[in-house]
């Protein structure tokens, strides 16, 4: 079956890696003699504190075979297994970073729900703040230009009538009928001659 994703060469390697990851998990499970999801007697129960950390970790790890779901969201057996792996590491006393490292070691780097702040991943984090700063700079320039144009074009023009009521309305008590009447009688700008 030819998918659009094939046409765009996007998730082929995701699938390949998922396959490897799934095989790996099957191997692990086969060696443990557990044929599916986690059994009750093996389930690692956590203290409430560790449960809270586990929830954050689940949300940071993608299910390798599900479309765009984290292991916190997915019901797939592999996600259940991965959650169990996270719980085991938590009980063993690993830090969050150690657990992420352990999981990427086993399943590949693209199971991380957000890119690491290093290498190519740095670009992901770096660009948005720069773009926002540039945008803020552009807006400041724009406001300055409009204001200097104001000096030339609008010298001495008093407050226009159209928005008097609204302006006063902004202070909370400009809702007097008089001002309101002014507002009603003044058309919006496009209706002016």
């Amino acid at each position: 079956m030819v998918l659009v994703s094939d046409f765009l060469f996007i998730d082929i390697s995701i699938r390949k890696r998922a396959l490897v990851g799934a095989l790996l998990v099957l191997l692990v499970l086969a060696s443990l003699g557990a044929p599916g999801a986690v059994r009750a007697q093996e389930y690692v129960e956590l203290t409430p504190e560790l449960d809270a950390r586990a929830a954050d970790l689940y949300a940071g790890i993608m299910c390798p075979i599900c479309n765009g779901q984290t292991i916190s969201q997915s019901h797939a057996a592999i996600s259940e297994t991965m959650r169990q792996m996270v719980r085991e590491r938590l009980v063993a006393g690993d830090t969050d970073q150690q657990i992420y490292d352990f999981m990427t070691e086993a399943f590949g780097r693209d199971i991380l729900a957000s890119p690491p702040k290093s290498g190519i991943g740095l670009a992901v984090w770096f660009v948005p703040p720069v773009a926002l700063l540039l945008g803020a700079f552009a807006v400041t320039l724009f406001v300055r230009r409009l204001r200097s144009a104001d000096g030339l074009v609008r010298q001495g023009s008093g407050a226009g009538p159209g928005d008097l009521a609204d302006a006063h309305g902004g202070t909370g008590d400009g809702l007097e009928p008089y001002l309101q009447l002014v507002d009603e009688e003044m058309p919006d700008i496009e209706e002016r001659p």
């Binding site: 009750a40 590949g108 890119p115 773009a131 009521a165 007097e176 009928p177 507002d183 496009e190």
Partner: protein
């Protein structure tokens, strides 16, 4: 049915092309009869597509499995009510639905647009008909819902179980309509530009249709969140999934647009900017359709594989080039008349609003596109998910909410710091107290506290505004308070409609802060009679029942809920196993209160039939998020309601002398 549907679509295509051509020729040759003819062809296109829609509905109702689309998306066992969902469950049907919705809105928009818009109207019609023709043509020649199978199967495949939920009756069609509805304000803006008469005449109609598209997307997104919350069974409602983002980005750009257009309406400024904004909105909408219907990225929404990716990518490219082509071609016409008198004014607040909304849109687009670029150019697979969006967009949203407290109280032209102080002094003090109380009770992290603080500030500020206004109105007109309040809202509908929507945003913010930072989560395995604690609640697994159907096995777990040791009720958590789809579908048991939701997911029953796996969540404040929906609708209706007649103004005028001097800080 196949022949009827196909012919109706062929006729619709011919009519749309005819309408576009006659619009162009008519306006060029100043032939008003031809322009009228093009408008009638526009109306008939919607009618012809309506017949095609009817044909497909009938095919579903009559189980006409000779049609491939019907065979793929329904079966004999499917309740007839799900025909509504099956209709748009695949690309073919959803494209027909989109084309029909666009044709209906195009007809309505051209019918309602004031005649005084003159040559702008046929040009807008031309743009609409070009877009519509594209959709009908793709639908007809590349993905026809009326394609037949060589052999008629006895039964169909059936509907995807995830779609069989009440949320699915409204969420997908609203998103699809919302995305395509942006075409209408876009066509009005670009049509105006093409006609060369770019004054402010498109502003009213553009704002109205911009708000229509905006509210459709807003409600669609909220319903999607609600659906995810109740059925996907992970306790969340928003995952920054590529397809969610694809619908979210045009909504963000539209939000910037419906704010910015007010500046042009009131002050004649930002003409250039508003056209750019509606262009961006529609381009993002086209991108949304590409992501949604073309399926280039793995997503939870990948219900059907699609081969139409390149078609929608092409559409996206053409829209982007053509819209900004026209924009720069007519650049000189777009000079603004007004000017900015002060950096502290409503106008500047709107500029900052635009910057922040486009900032969120950019961050989101970056997150969606980067993995594609990384894969294509660098050959490295990268996932950009929830943690990225939360930590980058979160602060921008905080700034936006803070702006909601300041922006609406800034007067046009120029404000003084005194007027700002007057507006937010009392809310600021109240906010300080509430925030201090929250900090004393429980500190989770700085982001949570900041979120609570700014949301409280906005809520109190809006309440203050409404109370002050109602009191002033009561003093002036002697109306009883409820009536005075209604009169207040009626006096400036765009403003008070906006406030209602802002209140909805505050409710959403509280829900998001509560569930993101204060949620408790536990995975537990329980045998019948055993219980587990989550927060102040104790949940006991009392029983489970199993019902087997031909296509699925449903199980319901009954849980007794105790809070602080006393019994408060039972919840039922449900799941269904669909062997033919190899799929587990859950429906959470939720005990919802304004303070917190107790949320139980029944994920598995062990083979012994007595032990089951559950996920228990305590999600504070989520209840408020679903209340936001009605407020969004109400606020939009208020903002869109046509201006009242003069007669009402006369009623309010007699007491004006008495109330005049209390002008306040200005």
């Amino acid at each position: 049915m196949a022949d009827l549907g196909t012919s109706a679509m062929l006729i619709a295509l011919a009519l749309a092309v005819y309408s576009g051509v006659t619009s162009l020729v008519g306006v060029r040759t100043r032939n008003s009869a031809m322009v009228s003819s093009s408008m009638r062809a526009n109306y008939l296109t919607a009618f012809a597509l309506g017949i095609a829609v009817l044909a497909l509905v009938l095919a579903f109702l009559r189980n006409d499995f000779a049609l491939r689309y019907v065979a793929q998306h329904s079966n004999l066992a499917m309740p007839r009510i799900y025909t509504w969902v099956a209709f748009y469950a695949g690309n073919e049907g959803s494209l027909l639905y989109v084309a029909f919705a666009l044709a209906g809105m195009a007809a309505l928009a051209m019918y309602l647009v004031p005649r005084r818009m003159g040559s702008q109207r046929p040009y807008a019609n031309l743009v609409l008909m070009l877009i519509l023709s594209f959709f009908i043509a793709v639908n007809l020649f590349m993905a026809s819902p009326f394609a037949t199978l060589p052999v008629t199967p006895i039964d169909g495949v059936g509907i995807n179980p995830l779609l069989a939920h009440p949320g699915m009756f409204i969420h997908p069609p609203l998103i699809m309509v919302g995305l395509i509805a942006i075409a209408v304000p876009f066509a009005l803006g670009i049509g105006g530009l093409l006609s060369g008469r770019i004054d402010d005449e498109w502003v009213d109609a553009g704002r109205t249709w911009g708000l229509v598209a905006w509210v459709l997307l807003a409600i669609g997104l909220l319903l999607g969140a609600w659906w995810a919350y109740t059925i996907l069974g992970w306790g969340g409602y928003w995952a920054w999934d590529p397809v969610e983002n694809a619908a979210f980005m045009p909504w963000l750009a539209l939000t910037a647009f419906i704010h910015s257009i007010m500046v042009q309406k009131r002050r004649g400024m930002f003409r250039l900017w508003n056209i750019a904004l509606i262009n961006i909105s529609f381009i993002l909408g086209a991108f949304g359709i590409f992501i949604n219907r073309g399926g280039p990225v793995p997503s939870v929404h990948s219900f059907g594989a699609s081969t139409l990716g390149w078609v929608f990518l092409l559409f996206l490219g053409v829209v982007a080039f053509a819209s900004f082509g026209v924009f720069f071609y007519r650049f000189a016409l777009l000079r603004s008349t007004g000017s900015l008198e002060s950096a502290l004014s409503r106008e500047s607040a709107f500029l900052v609003n635009n910057l922040l909304f486009l900032g969120v849109a950019f961050v989101t687009l970056w997150g969606v596109v980067f993995p594609i670029i990384s894969e294509l150019v660098l050959g490295e697979t990268i996932t950009v998910g929830q943690p990225f969006y939360n930590s980058v967009n979160g602060p921008i949203f905080l700034a936006l909410i803070f702006l909601m407290a300041i922006g609406p109280v800034l007067p046009w032209r120029h404000a003084t710091w005194a007027s700002v102080r007057h507006a937010i002094l009392i809310p600021g003090i109240i906010t300080l107290f509430i925030t201090a109380a929250v900090v004393i009770i429980e500190v989770r992290n700085v982001a949570a506290i900041a979120g609570i603080a700014v949301s409280t500030l906005v809520a109190v500020q809006i309440a203050q505004e409404m109370i002050r206004g109602t009191l002033a109105r009561h003093r002036a007109t002697k109306s009883p308070y409820p009536l005075a309040f209604l009169q207040l809202v009626g006096s400036n509908r765009p403003r008070y409609g906006g406030y209602l929507v802002h209140l909805a945003v505050v409710m959403l913010a509280f829900g998001i802060v509560g569930s993101s930072f204060y949620s408790l989560e536990r995975d537990v395995i329980l045998s019948k009679g055993e219980s587990a604690d989550v927060g102040a609640y104790t949940v006991e697994f009392t029983d489970t029942t199993t019902t087997t159907f031909t296509d699925r096995t449903e199980r319901t777990a009954t849980m007794r809920v105790m809070k602080n040791g006393s019994f408060v009720g039972t919840v039922e958590a449900w799941h269904g196993v669909y062997p033919s789809f190899n799929m587990l579908s859950t429906r959470a048991g939720i005990r919802s209160t304004p303070v917190e939701d107790l949320y139980v997911i029944y994920s598995e029953l062990q083979p012994d039939g007595k032990t089951a796996a559950f996920r228990l969540l305590l999600n504070p404040m989520v209840w408020w998020m679903w209340l936001a929906g009605p407020f969004v609708i109400l606020g939009t209706v208020v903002a869109l309601w046509p201006a009242r007649q003069r007669a009402v103004a006369v009623v309010t005028s007699p007491s004006r002398e008495g109330a005049l001097p209390s002008g306040g800080a200005l």
